[in-house]
């Protein structure tokens, strides 16, 4: 979308134009949903979280100052929504963290504290076709911190600097997570260079 067209769309959203919001939903939902689904691993949760992202967008639209970075803004909201959700519920996505696997850095963002007793488990999340693919399964095996960086970089196209700001960790840590995560992903896929 052209920058001017996007700016007009946002201006209409600021006036409460429902159709402008619908257009944003159509534009950004596939990438946001892809990010959320692969981050939390459950389609139902990803749907709920996607709705929450747009609700927060509506609530914050009055304060939003458009600088051409709506994508980064939306993914920032999405990341915060996931973080808030898993902090509140004391549930975490069922993926392992770097610290659990003896990763090099453990100062990164944790999405929650413990696995809930009523966690539906892996079988419940295999409904979505793509997730059952080899790549989806390989992504799930990555430590949570590495997967988050890789997914943010891939879907939001944010710079590593912006990702570091969002996750509140040094750029070097973010780069290392992306490098190690992608390397591990290729190994898991049996597609090493």
């Amino acid at each position: 979308m052209e920058p001017k067209e996007l700016a007009d769309l946002i201006a209409r959203c600021k006036k409460g134009d429902q159709r402008a919001y619908d257009r944003l939903v159509a534009l950004y939902s596939p990438r946001l949903y892809g990010y959320l689904l692969r981050l939390v691993g459950r389609p139902d949760d990803a749907e709920e979280l996607l709705q929450e992202v747009y609700l927060r967008l509506v609530r914050g639209m009055e304060r939003y100052r458009h600088d051409g970075q709506l994508t980064a803004y939306l993914f920032r909201i999405a990341t915060n929504v996931v973080r808030d959700r898993y902090r509140r519920r004391k549930v975490r996505p069922r993926h392992v963290s770097e610290s659990e696997t003896g990763g090099e850095d453990d100062e990164g963002l944790g999405l929650g504290d413990q696995v809930s007793a009523d966690d539906p488990g892996p079988d419940a999340s295999l409904r979505h076709g793509e997730r059952s693919s080899a790549l989806g399964e390989a992504l799930e095996k990555l430590p949570e911190e590495q997967r988050q960086v890789i997914l943010l970089r891939h879907f939001s196209e944010m710079s590593f600097g912006d990702i570091a700001d969002l996750l509140e960790c040094p750029v070097g840590t973010v780069l290392a997570r992306a490098h190690r995560g992608l390397k591990r992903l290729r190994e898991l896929m049996g597609d090493e260079p």
């Binding site: 429902q18 609700l55 509506v58 979505h128 793509e130 196209e157 750029v171 780069l175 992903l185 290729r186």
Partner: protein, 158 residues
């Protein structure tokens, strides 16, 4: 991810090291060819749109409620200001009047009448006394002019 976004800047290359930076760029491109956006579940867009419509309606109601609250507050302030103004500027009530330095006119009139009457009485009394004294003085003059005036006996102590 677009190819130009795959590239790292100088600072990032320095942080990661040249070899790792090249590997990262290569692996990002590898992933870009395989990981696509997820298909949205049936009806998800409509549900999101409905949720947004509900939120917009809620915000509109909230905006009206805020306007009403502001208007109500302004009206209350005006009422309060008007009340204060009226209290400050209202005419003084009888109990608020300063203590009178003069008695009411009717009282003054009554007292003046009394004084006049008293003065007249006093003057009349004095007049009567003066008349009586004049009479006595005349009697005394007559007696003094006589040979055997009684006052001589009174003076003649020896």
């Amino acid at each position: 991810m677009s190819p130009e976004r795959d590239n790292l800047n100088e600072n990032e290359r320095e942080l990661l090291g040249a070899q790792s930076a090249d590997e990262l760029v290569r692996d990002q491109r590898w992933l870009a060819g395989r990981l696509e956006s997820a298909d949205l579940p049936e009806g998800l867009e409509a549900r999101v749109s409905g949720a947004i419509a509900g939120e917009l309606a809620r915000e509109r109601r909230g905006a009206w409620a805020r306007r009403l609250a502001v208007a109500g507050l302004a009206a209350a302030m005006l009422l309060l200001a008007a009340t204060v103004w009226m209290v400050v500027h209202q005419p003084a009530t009888p109990t608020d009047q300063p203590i009178a330095t003069e008695p009411p006119k009717s009282v003054v009139v009554a007292r003046r009448d009394d004084v006049d009457r008293l003065v007249n009485d006093y003057v009349q009394t004095i007049d009567q006394d003066v008349v009586a004294m004049s009479d006595e003085l005349a009697v005394l003059q007559d007696e003094m002019s006589g040979g055997d005036a009684p006052w001589r006996d009174l003076l003649d102590v020896k």
